[in-house]
């Protein structure tokens, strides 16, 4: 069972440039969350702050009662053993082949014998579909394979929290779909807390239980998937539906003139909310909620055509 991550009043700036301020949220245990945001809003910075690679200026990140921001170096290394992190390019160790890469955390942290290690490594390699590529060096394989290998390495210590830094960047749509299915299946299997940083709309519409949106140096909204997908809030609506009309401009935000010119433009209607991606064995995940539940309990009428079985396909980006 995963653990939750409590983020309180987190603020980070580089020099005089504020990246984001006063970010507070709780990533619920065992659920899949997606953190969205336009390019350059510091999503990766947030991820690195969560694992203590970057120190925030203010605020705290609390995991199992320990504040990662103020704890000692030693505690930090202990807490990090709870994490599995998939970096943008996989961050495989270039000097080792895939097998040694995946075995690395086991060899460093456990006293398992080589045959036990072999069993675990092969299991994880099988999980991400990399059987047969163990002897390859990271430089010899494609970006998608590197990512999957990075995922295998992130999972090898049975983490309680798995962080994904843009799992879908640089992957073709088919591979992205497979990876998304893999993420959902994994969550069903290991019940860890998943946090995915991405700007892929399709992923964020179909995969997570919760969505957060970083925009204009703050956390614009964080909540259940259906809440954000049915939200009329301009920023959320613009981003989740990939539209040009709205407060987000080409460079960060639009100026007053542009916004005034758009004032009379009608926003296109909200597209239907697609069904959430289910585990491939059909057994619902522990944290999965029935489609439409949030809308019903909060008295929100979902856009017409929502939660229809084929809307998974129809729910893609409409320009």
């Amino acid at each position: 069972m995963g653990v939750d991550i409590k983020i309180e009043h987190l603020t980070k700036s580089f020099g005089k440039q504020l990246i984001w301020g006063d970010v507070s949220l709780t990533v619920p245990a065992g659920e899949i969350c997606v953190m969205l945001g336009p390019s350059g809003t510091g999503k990766s910075v947030l991820l690195k702050t969560l694992i203590g690679l970057l120190k925030p200026d203010e605020g705290s990140v609390i995991i199992e009662g320990t504040d990662l921001v103020s704890c000692s170096e030693k505690d930090l290394y202990e807490i990090r053993k709870l994490f599995g992190v998939l970096f943008q390019d996989g961050a495989m160790f270039g000097s080792m082949n895939l097998y040694d890469n995946v075995a690395f955390p086991l060899r460093e942290h456990t006293k398992k014998s080589e045959s036990q290690i072999r069993d675990i490594v092969m299991e994880k390699m099988d999980l991400v579909g990399l059987i047969g590529a163990e002897d390859k060096l990271p430089g010899e394989i494609s970006g998608g394979m590197r990512k999957r290998a990075g995922l295998a390495r992130a999972l090898v210590l049975d983490p309680e929290i798995v962080l994904f830094d843009e799992p879908d960047s640089g992957l073709d749509p088919v591979r992205t779909a497979f990876l998304n299915q893999l993420i959902v299946d994994l969550n069903a299997q290991i019940d860890a807390t998943f946090l995915i940083v991405t700007h892929d709309i399709n992923t964020s519409r179909t995969v997570p239980d919760n969505i957060g949106l970083l925009y204009h140096k703050h956390l614009a909204m964080f909540g259940p998937r259906e809440m954000l997908l049915s939200s009329e809030e301009p920023v959320v609506r613009q981003f989740l539906n990939a539209q040009r009309v709205g407060p987000i401009g080409m460079s960060e935000e639009k100026d007053a003139d542009q916004l005034a010119a758009e004032k009379d433009m009608d926003l296109p209607p909200l597209p239907p909310i697609p069904l959430q991606l289910e585990p491939s064995n059909g057994i619902p995940r522990r944290s999965q909620r029935p489609p439409g539940e949030w809308c019903r309990t909060n008295g929100v009428t979902p856009p017409p055509g929502s939660f229809l079985p084929d809307s998974v396909l129809a729910g893609g980006v409409k320009a």
Binding site: D89, A91, P105
Partner: protein, 263 residues
């Protein structure tokens, strides 16, 4: 922001960098005593550093020995003390040329390789990945490199001394018409055993400085592949500067502690 405070920030930046560097050096020192010791990485690195430095060092040492023989030989002839050529040559090679040639090679070949390696790991997020996997890169990567660099540098110093003296011998005997007997016999006339020790001590310190600077630069590389290039470049330049300064200081201290032999 007023321009004066901006200037102040810029002016104080080198001090901040120096502070970070010493903090890093302290981290390395602390990690030196943390178990488990990475024996495998140490041996691999020692082998690697040796393999990139041995041949260049030998090739540098030969002309170094020859040029010293040439200089000293000419000078000493003017003083009319040809019988001391061997001694002066040994003295120069063991005391100064050995450590200096070692410093050049360990910084230029060993240090640049370390900075490039760690810099590439840094920009590929390998170091981040390692920290996230709960492994301290300073203990896992930097400490073995520093120790390997120190070990190899001591050996290189020995190599330079031997090759340099041999080169001086060949030059003196074959080209300058010196006699083998007087060259060898005068070895101990001016030189003494502590000269060898101080050469080794210098080499040890040079190896330490080169590896720590290179690791620091590599681990703080930023901004993509260009950052790695910059890190390597800076690491070589900074190491050279430091090594020549430290060499001077150590020589000065040595002469205070061990007075030169009087005939």
């Amino acid at each position: 922001m007023s321009s004066s405070s901006l200037t102040a920030t810029k002016a104080l930046k080198p001090i901040g960098t120096a502070g970070n560097f010493f903090a890093f050096a302290l981290d390395v020192f602390i990690a030196l005593f943390r178990r488990p010791f990475q024996l495998r990485e140490f041996i691999q690195q020692a082998w690697f550093i040796a393999s990139v430095t041995i041949i260049p060092t030998a090739l540098v040492a030969i002309p170094f020995g020859a040029v010293i023989a040439l200089q000293v030989g000419g000078l000493i002839k003017q003083f009319g003390a040809q019988s001391f050529v061997g001694s002066a040559s040994v003295l120069a090679v063991v005391r100064e040329a050995g450590p200096i040639a070692t410093a050049l090679l360990i910084a230029g070949a060993g240090g640049s390789a370390i900075a490039a390696d760690l810099g590439a790991r840094k920009i590929r997020e390998e170091l981040d990945a390692m920290m996230v996997l709960g492994i301290d890169p300073i203990q896992r990567l930097v400490v073995p490199r520093v120790l390997a660099c120190m070990l190899v540098s001591v050996f290189l110093n020995g190599l330079v001394s031997v090759v340099g003296v041999a080169g001086g011998y060949v030059f003196n005997v074959l080209l300058q018409g010196g006699t083998p007997g007087s060259y060898l016999a005068s070895f101990t006339a001016l030189a003494q055993l502590p000269d060898v020790w101080q050469g080794l001590a210098k080499a040890l310190v040079f190896g330490l400085i080169a590896a720590v600077v290179a690791s620091y630069m590599g681990m703080n590389a930023g901004g993509g592949p260009k950052g790695v290039g910059d890190a390597v470049n800076q690491s070589v330049v900074v190491t050279f500067l430091l090594l020549f300064i430290v060499n001077f200081v150590m020589t000065a201290i040595y002469f205070q502690v061990v007075p030169p032999k009087t005939g």
